[in-house]
């Protein structure tokens, strides 16, 4: 069991390293086979290890990473239900995406780099998931950051792509600062960085400390999961290849923040204030992203904002105390959003590498398969009744409602509004892409088989993902909550209330759909206007940050460099040197070559000496 678990982690690493070091020397399909094979093998190993995850879970310590003084960090794995379900999802989705990528990247000359990074990403993500201490988790945390950086900028020859990668890395790293400080603080408080130990002893802390630590962790999570106010990197990250968007920026990495909060939930839950903050950030991000998604023109950016929005829901779930709801939504979202991205990749391919939804239309006629797959994803996203997305989102909203306080009711209200918006932009996307006639000029590209059939399992999972945690109302047994030992998350609301809530959810879905249908079924024209520009630019946060942060940063840097460094420090030194030399130059004038003036030096010297002696003698 332990070996299988270790293999789960190390297989992608091995694949990545082999591809990174030797990929270029191997014949063409071999790197791809290694990459896909290692991830699939990892998935299988995970399946094999799954029985060990129940109950107390499985622990493996590979070796001591570093120990110094009282500080001790091991390379140790913790395979408990939460980790297990996440591992399964990560390896599973990653396997499918790898296969898809094999088709997608078939002609790219640089595919070994791509697959090496992708494998490394899976390894890093699994490290986050399986780490038994915060430092190891941080290793994975930064590792996914780097892989994301490398993959966003994969097509490095356009500077914008590489810029986007850099932006992603740096913005998430701002969040990581909070994580780091949290880690340092936790070590100081507990003398250990073991996740279980910290969670177990969290109650020893006073409320203020807990709140602060939890907020620090929230900061870390915000960065990685693109939540307000660190969300600006995600839309730009769409510059990367589509499988990357599917895997990293939809299914796995962006949910790492949620996973972190779930991981540390025993600690975080001790602070109502922190929970409230999490919920608030979640819902605000959800709403913000949904509005932005309305205004986007590129298909992947729409999906990116929708991802942000959905991750906001997951935060909301954590904030209202329902880990299983968060994980539930995380899973279903992973399935349908991966599906959506990959289907979007197909669409883009079909449209001849055109990204703009206003230049698409009529795609249904180009490929029925893609249409149905995409539609499956869309209805999940929009929260169509009985789809996976419906159940998970509903569970979150219900949990928020159940909290009952005005604050949470407001949040609930915002959540519902977001749901309506979601439904609206989902169908807007669907209509613009698939309905009507083709508006672009590019010729369609061939779709390799590898790019369609891995989508099928995802579509199935997305549509029927609700079964994972089917509520009692629909005859389910809330299996996921039980597995996570979070029975408390299963709400015990009056049936009437539940019906009301479900009804409302269905109503907003239908409302959104209807509006979208009315407006976009027949394409009119590209929207323009202040509002849509505003939304397109993501509420102009980029500009704001540039003005508030980047410009002062540059300005201060320039001051340090040219003002302090060159001007003050070097200027002072060079000035001193110049002064010395100029003294020397003036002393040179004394040595003018004339004997008589040299002799005058004698006399002056003598006069001074005699005068001095005279003074001494008189005194």
């Amino acid at each position: 069991m332990a070996v299988l678990l270790t293999l789960t982690l190390l297989l992608p690493l091995a694949g990545g390293i082999i591809n990174a070091c030797f990929g270029n020397r191997l014949p063409r399909p071999v790197p791809v086979i290694i990459a896909c094979g290692s991830v699939i093998a990892s998935f299988l190993a995970c399946l094999g290890a799954l029985p060990g995850a129940g109950g107390e879970g499985l622990r493996v310590t590979l070796f001591s990473w570093m120990s110094s003084g009282t500080f001790q960090a091991d390379i140790g794995l913790l395979f408990d239900p939460l980790a297990a379900i996440m591992t399964l999802m990560v390896t599973g989705v990653a396997s499918l995406i790898h296969l898809y990528a094999a088709g997608y990247m078939e002609e790219d000359p640089d595919q070994t780099r791509f697959f090496a990074l992708l494998n490394l990403f899976v390894f890093a993500m699994l490290t986050i998931v399986l780490a038994d201490n915060l430092l190891l988790m941080f290793l994975g945390w930064e590792g996914v950051g780097f892989c994301s950086y490398g993959l966003i900028g994969f097509w490095y020859r356009q500077s914008e792509n590489a810029e986007a990668g850099r932006k992603a890395f740096i913005v998430t790293r701002i969040g990581d600062l909070f994580f780091t400080v949290g880690l340092l603080w936790l070590f100081k408080l507990f003398g250990t960085i073991g996740i279980e130990a910290i969670n177990g002893r969290a109650t020893e802390l006073d409320p203020l400390t807990v709140t602060l630590v939890a907020l620090l962790l929230l900061g870390g999570a915000c960065g990685k999961s693109a939540q307000l106010p660190l969300m600006t990197w995600l839309p730009d990250a769409m510059a990367g290849p589509t499988p990357v968007s599917a895997l990293i920026h939809a299914a796995t990495m962006v949910t790492a923040g949620v996973y972190l909060l779930c991981r540390m939930f025993p600690l975080v839950s001790l602070s109502p204030l922190a929970l409230g903050a999490i919920a608030l950030i979640g819902v605000l991000t959800a709403l913000y992203a949904a509005t932005c998604a309305l205004g986007q023109r590129e298909i992947k950016r729409v999906l990116a904002y929708s991802t942000m929005s959905q991750v906001g829901y997951m935060f909301l779930a954590v904030g209202v105390g329902s880990v299983s709801a968060a994980m539930f939504h995380l899973l279903t979202h992973a399935f349908f959003k991966a599906l959506l991205f990959m289907a979007a990749g197909c669409v883009i391919n079909l449209a001849g590498h055109e990204n703009d939804i206003y230049l698409m239309g009529g795609m249904r006629r180009r490929s029925q398969t893609v249409f149905w797959l995409f539609l499956a994803g869309l209805v999940c996203l929009a929260g169509a009744p009985l789809t996976g997305g419906f159940f998970s989102k509903d569970m979150i909203l219900a949990a928020a409602y159940a909290k009952g306080s005005p604050f949470y009711l407001t949040i609930y209200g915002l959540g519902v509004a977001t749901a309506a918006l979601t439904s609206f932009y989902s169908f807007k996307l669907g209509y613009l892409v698939f309905a009507g006639d083709y508006r672009g000029e590019e010729l369609p590209h061939e779709l390799p088989g590898l790019m369609t059939w891995p989508l099928v399992p995802l579509a199935v999972l997305g549509l029927f993902g609700g079964l994972l945690n089917l509520p009692h109302l629909f005859g389910g047994h809330s299996w996921l909550s039980a597995w996570l030992v979070r029975q408390g998350d299963v709400l015990d609301l009056p049936v009437a209330v539940e019906y009301r809530l479900t009804g409302l959810a269905i109503a907003v879905f239908v409302l959104g759909w209807l509006l979208a249908h009315l407006r976009y079924y027949r394409f009119k024209a590209r929207e323009s206007g202040v509002l849509s520009e505003f939304l397109l630019a993501g509420w102009r946060f980029d500009g704001l940050y540039r003005r508030l942060l980047i410009r002062p940063f540059n300005g201060f840097g320039r001051f340090c460099w040219q003002g302090l460094e060159e001007g003050l420090v070097n200027g002072l030194l060079d000035g001193m040197a110049a002064t010395f030399v100029s003294w020397g130059q003036s002393l040179r004038l004394l040595a003018n070559g004339r004997i008589s003036s040299y002799l005058q030096g004698f006399i002056w010297g003598l006069l001074i000496i005699v005068g001095w002696f005279l003074l001494r003698a008189v005194a």
Binding site: R157, S159, R166, L177, W561
Partner: protein, 495 residues
Amino acid sequence: MTADIGTSLPLLSLLLWLPVAGAGLCFVSYRSAQLARWVALLTALLVLLLSLGCLLCPAGPDGWMLLTDRPWIEAFGIRYSLGMDGISLLLVILTAFLQLVAVLISWDQEKYPALLFGLLLLLEAGIIGVFLALDLVLFYLLWELMLIPTFFLIGIWGYRRRVYAAVKFFLFTLSGSLCMLLAIISLYLVHGEQTGSYTFALEALKQTQLGFGQEMLFYLCFMAAFAVKIPLFPFHSWLPDAHTEAPVAGSIDLAGLLLKTGVYGMIRFAFPLFPRAAEQSLPVLAVLALFGIFYAAWIAYLQTDIKRIVAYSSISHLGFVVLGLVAWGQTAWEGSLLLMVNHGVTTGALFIAIAFIQKRTGTRELPKLGGLWKSQPNLSAFFLLFSLASLGLPGLANFAGEILVLIGTFGSHPLWAVIAVGGVLFSAVYTLRMVQGTIWGPSCEPFDRQDLGRREWLVLIPLAVLVVLLGCYPQPLLDPLQLPVSLLLHSGGLP
């Protein structure tokens, strides 16, 4: 002190004198580049093997693995006194390794190769000696011995403004160390007056009773030398010029080794000799270190010469090292020392990669570089790896040291640690800018389209392996540090 364990094989003296002998051979064989090359390589290799051999020596209860103590200049009370504990050991191994790399990297040097190799070996002797010396004058002598070779390395084989840089380096470091010399002699006099025995031995001088003002004065004089070498803000202004203008071997030595001697001097000499003054100075040091971290990072962010970026990054990283020392705790000190070693490897590797880039493209200016991955994927990959290590990516070299420093610092001074964490972000900012402009983006046309040659692989692979290994499994380096660090921490009388 324990008895002279190293009598059977005078390992320490060999470590010190072998490079000197090699240097002499190189100078003598100045007509034959080939001979000088091989002499240098063999000497460097032998020194590395010897230093690794020291690993086998067990450490005594007082932390010393090897000691040598002989009278040298009795007229002044100077002894030839060398000692190796875990700290010295690590740094000596690092020196031997980097110097071997420096020799390899200079293999093709066509301009006066014999002189270059001789100077490299001489420099190695100086640096190793600094890490071993236990007599203050011997220490000072070796400390200054580093000057001349470095001066020539920069001045002869450097780039355009090499003369300016070399002179600036020389004057800066010399002015610091002359202050130290003054303090050394004064301390010796005070000790001699108190005890009647005039000696420069470190252990004896630690017992000197000093008035606080006096102690502070001496301490400041010592710190003048060390602060310049480290370099702490505002004594750093020699470093960017020296690093930028130096040839690659010189840059490796400067960044990888010379800067470390300053920190080593602090922990081996300045702190134990003047514990009370050191204690008083900690906040100031912390402020300087923290300021330096950000200041240098900020400047690095705006540079266009990639070598200059790395140079400023060194200042920033050394700020972390000093911060760890200031935190005054086991973990923090071990972290600092580890970071020193790791930074040596990483930065050395970066400089090498940059040299290779410059060899191919003929420029180090960001605006002229770009898209290197297209024609030089292997080189770019190495460059990327070293850059990532430099920005503190977990699992690579620098992170291990940085996190220990931060953990140690947070334990005693949370605020400092929190501020320092910001430095990690800054390092990402400027490093990624450098990577961005060099290997990504539209490609420039390199003059030499050849990717790595065999010798270049030979140099880069061990560095890359080390960078990963030190990040993933730094424990072998931490173990030997434990005892000496705790001894140093607790001997000073500080909490």
